[in-house]
Amino acid sequence: MTRAINLRIGAGLVLVLTVAALLSLVWTPYDYTVLSVTQKFRPPSADHWLGTDQLGRDVVSLLMAASVNSLAVAFISVGIGGSIGTALGLTASAFGGWVETVIMRVADLGFAFPALLFAIMLAAAFGPSLTNAILAIAFINVPIFTRVARGAANQIWTRDYVLAGRAAGASQFSLTIDHVLPNISATLIVQATIEFAVAILAEAALSYLGLGAQPPMPSWGRMLNEAQTLMYLAPQLAIYPGLCIIAAVLGFGLLGDGLRDISDPRLARARA
């Protein structure tokens, strides 16, 4: 089954990441908040699998704790942005006419905002914080889900079972909840998985710029930033979080792609 290869690799990476994140909530090899001057810049060893950083913290523990941050930010921001976007897209599709035009044009406007720029704007206005980073990432997800939900919903509205529901006296609202939403959920889940990858990358970028997770909260992006000045001294400190980001983005990206192939077999065959 080579066809599902991207799904398998993606699911595997996501699984490892999720397990590591959940595990870090109850157990990490070392307490990553404890600093130790004597232990700094240790090479990988049996005690410290990936060594220690400039403050003597265990890198494995830091990476594990940071994964929680990445996943939580991605989950919350895609959740918020996806819900609002989906609701807007369904509304546009259900009403049509000028309502649809207005919503979709506003969504187009939302696409014009680069996420980073928007986050910098938020940070400038309200100060840099993880909450603002989440809001910024959620914001860029809104127009994406508006478009996807509206496009998929418009197709469902033409189905005979919607017609039959209407003939049985159902309102636009109950048709949307009972028929349209369940039938576009596969599309939405695929989109959400892909946006997860984007959100993880965005969180890393914002944290790298100091606009996301604030110290002492561990974050891959911030670890990259801190390692930057030590590039010649300890390049591995930049490489580890970088690899984690790659693994997470690749994992969710492949998983989303794989899910899409399953939900739309025609697409998979066309691509193969």
Partner: protein, 318 residues
């Protein structure tokens, strides 16, 4: 009870229905026949208030005495299910693949009649039994893909009947079904209309199914009713040239031998935008008179309960 007077439906310049009048009393069963594009489905949708948004309807339409000529969406939603319901051509497509069919049928019961979940379930079970669904208890819990075409159509009939509508519009309900399943469905529709005293509007191009199901038939062409009357009389003694052509185009076995080639009506149904000014059938008619292309024949009584719109068929005043 349906009273429709001079219903016209237009898409801009193009007229999809032109001055169609109908009057149906409880228990009456009307067949609408005609080729694709003759306006029969459009008439069905007009009676449901479910015309496409681009369509403009004029004329008077009343259901059970309620004037619906200018009804809003909300008024129509109230009418649907309670007064007038519809079943569709493709039972495969008309059920949400992700919902148990029981939930689909229970929805209008809960929505319109405000029944509790257990009452709605009981009622859905009764409806399944009434529509002849085997093992109804089990079927309630199944998804559309687990049912056969005939069973799905029965589920859709149960859905349509959920709120005891006085009118059922069946838009080609048997076209997608096997012949023997189709027979059972038409018999079911006939029985339901009779038992419930329900108006049945049966839209089909299958003349045999129509003959079996309805009492009155209206033959449609180019958005107009061209001939109307008791089904046995119209089918055995057609008066309008179009009806004659339609009947001739059926495969029949004569002298124990299937005719090799079916006779057909020359030409195609013209597009809505370029229908002829006079009789809509002019240009394809085999007995065309000079005035046919210019003067539109009115639907006139021709004796008994019959009516015909043709310059060849003289009006009979009784």
């Amino acid at each position: 009870m349906i009273e429709a007077e001079n219903i016209s439906v237009a898409f801009g310049e193009a007229e999809a229905l032109r001055r169609v009048s109908l009057s149906l009393r409880p228990g009456e069963r009307l067949g609408l026949v005609g080729e694709s594009g003759s306006g029969k489905s459009m008439l069905g949708l007009a009676l449901m208030g479910m015309l496409p948004e681009a369509a403009q309807m004029t004329g008077r339409l009343a259901i059970d005495g309620h004037d619906l000529s200018r009804a809003t969406d909300n008024e129509w939603r109230d009418m649907r299910a309670r007064k007038v319901a519809m079943i569709f051509q493709e039972p495969m497509m008309a059920l949400n693949p992700l919902r148990r069919v029981g939930d689909t049928v229970m929805e209008p019961l809960r929505l319109h009649l405000g029944l509790s979940k257990s009452d709605a379930r009981r009622r859905a079970l009764e409806l399944f039994e009434e529509t002849g669904i085997q093992e109804p208890e089990e079927k309630l819990r199944q998804y559309p893909h687990e049912l056969s075409g005939g069973q799905r159509q029965r589920v859709l009939i149960a859905l349509a009947l959920a709120c005891d509508p006085g009118i059922l519009i069946a838009d080609e309900p048997t076209t997608a079904l096997d012949a023997h399943v189709a027979l059972r469905i038409t018999d079911l529709l006939t029985r339901l209309a009779r038992d419930r005293g329900m108006v049945l509007v049966f839209i089909s191009h299958d003349l045999a199914a129509v003959a079996r199901t309805v009492e009155t038939v209206a033959v449609m062409y180019g958005g107009e009713i061209v001939e109307k009357g008791p089904v046995a009389q119209v089918l055995s003694d057609p008066r309008h040239p179009y009806t004659k052509g339609l009947l001739h185009a059926r495969p029949t076995i004569t002298g124990g031998e299937l005719r090799k080639r079916l006779p057909m009506i020359p030409g195609n149904v013209p597009a809505l935008a370029d229908l002829p000014h006079g009789c809509r059938f002019s240009g394809r008619c085999s007995v065309e008179l000079p005035q046919c292309a210019e003067v539109r024949p009115a639907l006139l009584g021709i004796g008994g309960l019959r009516a015909c719109a043709c310059h060849h068929v003289p009006e009979v005043v009784e």
